[in-house]
Every structure is written in structure tokens, then in C-alpha cells.
Symmetry: C2
Subunit: 339 residues, 2 copies
DNA sequence: CTGTTAGCGCATTCAT
DNA sequence: ATGAATGCGCTAACAG
């Protein structure tokens, strides 16, 4: 009688911790192998035995330990590591969404880390991810430190790293910034300030490059006094407010990302309460509701969700061996819109 | 000579896949145990041997397989599963940030899943997380289906589930909505429309409760014609635009979340181009830049990041056994601000 | 200090 | 169709 066997084997049960195949086997009166087979499809297990096993599993609240399973099968973990520089930025929320979309389709989960723009933390994060046997990494790099992480397939998003051969998805920062700036110049603006941390953030540097190029090709010179190396909304607000209080204020601002745009918009809206002339703003990246403010606005935008999806696609076809050996570089297009 | 041993043992090496302790041991000419000891601190290993081991590990690009390590040590995975209903919503970006903050402090990583407001997908997600041996779950529930997941410590965020005994962090939906609505009424509004999917989303229901309570205590009746069961920005826009075109339009709107607020603001801004009277809006949850639009705005806001952090704190002190047995319920305060 | 043995939870292989 | 032995990668416990 199975019941008797079950009773006999019950002594092997581990009471407190999570049940294992053995616990289920003991309760069902079968060998661990039968449990294993049942839980993974049930090939070569008699239906009635399967039922006994499943019932026992349910009663114990048994769940296959995927971790152990993967180890035994020498199988990858089904985990993708994603590191971003600022999880709180809605931009990266959309980005993560794009990655998750594609990951879910490919039956993977995402491990998210926030580097907070700190290269040391980024390294630690990626080290940790690698130790957890992630199958691949999608990284918005905070620094240049992750040079050596060649073990795990890596896709860089938003920013490239010099000297690191790796799949990369970039935004057309230079071209977009150039087009947006040209549009400001076309409106007659001659004194345009730049808001962005050119020294600290690679995308800001590239966007400045496009900005400067547009000025140059229109025969304009950039006044270094109008360079504001800000990277968050508060500092951007201060910089814009201060510069508008000068004797020769800029007539327009170029903002290198959505955080600096928010600060600039606040300062400009504040300013226009007391002034008739409203400075114009060109913003790289979209900000929700910005178009409704009545500030002359040029938006150089792209879809961060699409960017995340693209990065994930590149990662997965590299994982499946369908990608060429050489690292690939994709540029996401930038659209210039005016409000 | 170690070198000779290394050569001899090299036959055990697995060429292609990721290196293991044995590979490192073979190369360094020691036993796997010495590698293990070295990699986990180096207690009881001679410095020079340690160096040999580390060098070998570096040369092979060895990384400890944490998954196997945790299995052997019967240790938890260091993973927290987080399931949200809409990763693309900036609200949940902030929420995730709060969770990540606390998780990082506690040396854990977060596995993020997007249920897309789909109960079936949520169950699948949580099942998967459980199989991956997450230590705990933080869930913004999409449905009532996760009743049985009692194996893993669970913290519910934002929405409670009837009949599920579990730590829960809620927002003071009812009180906040009541206060915000009262403020509209105080301004003389009598016809106030409600934007929110009361049937589908528990928070919307609770916020409606506060809304209705405020109307009632002010002797007002709610016109069911002014109930719009919308849950995204586009539908909200349509509903507001349509209702403003009626013969007896509402003079104010109560929006139950930040997505519906965005749609409402767009519709109101569109409307005011042709009309002198601008309808007022009370928004549950903040939206960046909304305060600058010149629309009479009442914001019932809280800090989603703090909410995420609170949920994580509750999870961690439950994990550490410092929590009482009974499920705890925390309410995050809501602030009413006017613009 | 270092190596050997054994076993975490699971599943392949080879028995029966 | 089922079970026993073996081993995935790692390390505790015990030798020596």
C-alpha cells in the first residue's frame, strides 16, 4: 500500500523549510525521480501516479527550485541584467518597459539595477549580476569602468564606451541636436545658452557637438558664458533664472535632457510673469505636458521604449547566435517637433 | 611541482562553457576547496597560494556561480520580486526607485515584472518569481488571484486584497480624495465629473469613495452622467472633451490617477482656447509641470518613492523576523496642494 | 593550512 | 513505467 510507504518515508521530511522533491516523493509514496518527471511534463509517468504526485505537491506547496534545476541542467538562468543611471527618471521607466516587453516575449525576466550615475556602483552591480549568471546585460553606462566584463553578452544603450567592442544602441544625438538648434537659429535666435553636463555625461557631449555644429554652420559663435554644466532640474532652474537676469540674456536655451528641460521650463514660466519677451527652448527628449505651456518649444525626441526594445532585441539575437561576430551599432532616429 | 600537476589536471578542463572551481583549481594546481576558500575571503589559505588561485581565476575569467553557491549553502537568493501594473507609468518608476533604494541597502537585487494590469499575467509572473526562490515579493496587485502565494513573504502596495492576510502599504485614498474634493466644493463647484475606472481599479474605487463622501457631506448629489470609467490618458481626453461639449458641462473634474489627469489637462487646455471659462481639475497623484499650465488645479499627492521604500522596509523586517506575526497596514499620507 | 568526502535540489543515464 | 546511481557547481565538516 502506498500509504504505508508514505508513512514510512515521512521521517525524511524536512519540516520547516521549503519542500523538495524528496518530501513530495515521500508523501506520494514514489521515488524523487517520479516527482521530477511529473513536475516537468509527466512523460513516462502513469496518469494516476501523476495525480498522486501533483496532489502531494499541492498539499505541501511544493515548487520546483529553478535555481537547482538550472544548475543541474547546465542551463542559463533566464535572467537579463539591466543597469540604468537613474531609475527615477521617467525616461528610464519607458526604457525598462521596452526591455521588459521583449524579455517577456522571450520568456526572460529582468534584474534591474540603479547605478545612480556612479561608476563604482555600476561595476559592483554588473559584477553581482554576472555572479548571478545573468544571460546578458543591457547597460546604460555611467562610466568607462566596465571594460572587462566580456564574459556576459553586453548591449550598451544610449552611450557608447571608447575601446569597448560591444553591441550598442545610440540615439542620433548629434544629428538631432543639430537639427533642433538649426530650427532655433532659423527663428532668428543668436544668443543660445546650453544646459547640460558636457564633462560628465557622454550624451550631453554629443548633443553639444550637434549644437555647436549648427551654430558654426550658421556662422555663429558660442559664448562660453552661456554654457551651463547642469545635470538636474533644480540646477537647471537656477542657471536659467540667473542667466535671464543678466543684462544681455540669451533669447533661447538648448536643454540636453528631460531633467534640465523641466528646470528650464519652470524658470522660463516664472520669468514670463514679469516680462513680455518669452525665451525659446529646445529640448532634447520629450517631457509630458511641456507642449501645453505656451513656451516656444522645439523638441528633439525619440522613443525610449523603442530604444529599450531595440537593445533587448539585439541582445537576444546575439544570445541565439544569430548575430554576426562584429559588434553592431544602431542609431535611433530623432524627430524634431515644434510647439 | 605545481605546474606539472596543473598540466596533468588540465584534461578535466571544460573548454567552451564558463569556468568552474575545478578549472581554476586545475590551473592553479590546488584542490577545488582551496579555490572555494580563496574566493570566499581566503581564510585558512596561504597568501602565496591565494595569489596563485586568484591569478588562475583571473586568467580564466572565473566567477563564482552564486546560484550553485546559494543552493549548497541553503541560502536565500538575495532577490526580491517586484510586480507592478504599468512599468511605463512614471509613478511606478519612482515606486521602483524607492524599493531599489532599500533593497540596495540590504544587499538585495530586484526582479521587476510588469503585469500590465492583467491578473493572469500577474499570477504567471509571481509563480515564476517564486520558482526562482525570491526571498520576498512586493506587489501592486492587478487582481485578486494571488491568494495562495503564501509561501513567500509578500507586501502589497497601493491596493489591498480582500481576504488576503498580508503586510500592506496603502495610500490614504479616501481621506485624500475627500479633502481634495472638499476643496473644489469650497470653490463653489457643484457639478464635478469623476474620471477613473471604479469597476476595474481598486484605488479608483477608494478615491471615488472619498469623492462621494465629500459631495454627500456638502449636501451635493452626484450625477451618474458625470462618471467616466477611463483608465488611460487618451480615453480621459475624449471623455473630458465630450463632456465639456454638453449643454450643461461640469465645472470641475476629479481625476483618479496621473494618467487620466494628463488626458484631462490636454482636453481642458484645448477647451480654453475657445472659451473664457476654464474648468477646474482635482488630480489624485502629481504630474510634473501640471502646476504651470494655468489650469485651476488641486493636487492630492503623495510620494511614490517613499511608498516603495516603505513597502521594502516592511518586507525586510519581516524577512529578518523583526515583525509581529499579524499583517501590518500602513497608510501613506496625502497632501492637498492648490495651484 | 590543505585535501577528501559528502550533499544542497534536481535530472540524465542506465538499469529493471 | 519506475527506480538507483551519478553528477551539475559549490562548500561544510572532517581529516591530516
Amino acid at each position: 500500500m502506498p500509504e504505508i510507504e508514505a508513512q514510512m518515508n515521512l521521517s525524511h521530511t524536512n519540516a520547516s523549510s521549503t519542500p523538495t522533491v524528496r518530501d513530495v516523493a515521500a508523501l506520494a509514496g514514489v521515488s524523487p525521480m517520479t516527482v521530477s518527471r511529473t513536475m516537468s511534463g509527466g512523460r513516462n509517468v502513469r496518469p494516476d501516479v501523476q495525480k498522486r504526485v501533483r496532489d502531494a505537491a499541492d498539499r505541501l506547496g511544493y515548487r520546483t527550485n529553478q535555481s537547482a534545476r538550472n544548475t543541474r541542467l547546465r542551463r542559463p538562468t533566464g535572467l537579463i541584467g539591466v543597469a540604468v543611471t537613474n531609475l527615477g527618471n521617467p525616461y528610464y521607466g519607458q526604457f525598462a518597459l521596452g526591455v521588459e516587453d521583449v524579455a517577456a516575449i522571450n520568456n526572460r525576466h529582468i534584474l534591474i539595477g540603479n547605478s545612480r550615475e556612479d561608476p563604482a556602483r555600476e561595476i559592483q552591480l554588473l559584477d553581482d549580476f554576472a555572479g548571478r549568471q545573468v544571460e546578458g546585460l543591457i547597460v546604460v553606462p555611467a562610466g568607462n569602468g566596465l571594460l572587462s566584463h566580456s564574459a556576459v553578452p553586453l548591449v550598451l544603450a544610449t552611450r557608447a564606451i571608447e575601446g569597448l567592442q560591444s553591441d550598442t544602441v545610440l540615439v542620433d544625438d548629434v544629428g538631432g541636436a543639430e537639427a533642433g538648434t538649426a530650427s532655433l537659429v532659423g527663428d532668428g535666435h543668436r544668443r543660445i545658452a546650453f544646459l547640460g553636463d558636457v564633462a560628465g555625461i557622454p550624451t550631453a557631449r554629443r548633443r553639444f557637438e550637434g549644437f555647436a555644429r549648427a551654430l558654426h554652420s550658421n556662422g555663429l559663435e558660442f559664448d562660453q558664458e552661456l554654457m551651463f554644466p547642469v545635470r538636474d532640474s533644480g540646477c537647471s532652474f537656477d542657471a536659467v533664472a540667473k542667466s535671464l537676469a543678466r543684462r544681455d540674456p540669451p533669447t533661447a536655451f538648448f536643454s540636453a535632457n528631460n531633467r534640465t528641460t523641466v528646470g528650464a521650463l519652470r524658470a522660463i514660466c516664472e520669468y514670463r510673469k514679469s516680462q513680455t519677451l518669452v525665451p525659446a527652448l529646445a529640448s532634447f527628449d520629450d517631457v509630458e505636458l511641456a507642449d501645453l505651456l505656451g513656451v516656444p518649444l522645439t523638441v528633439m525626441s525619440h522613443d525610449p521604449r523603442a530604444l529599450g526594445a531595440q537593445a533587448a532585441l539585439m541582445l537576444f539575437d546575439r544570445l541565439s547566435g544569430e548575430a554576426p561576430d562584429e559588434p553592431r551599432l544602431v542609431h535611433m532616429p530623432v524627430t524634431v517637433r515644434r510647439y
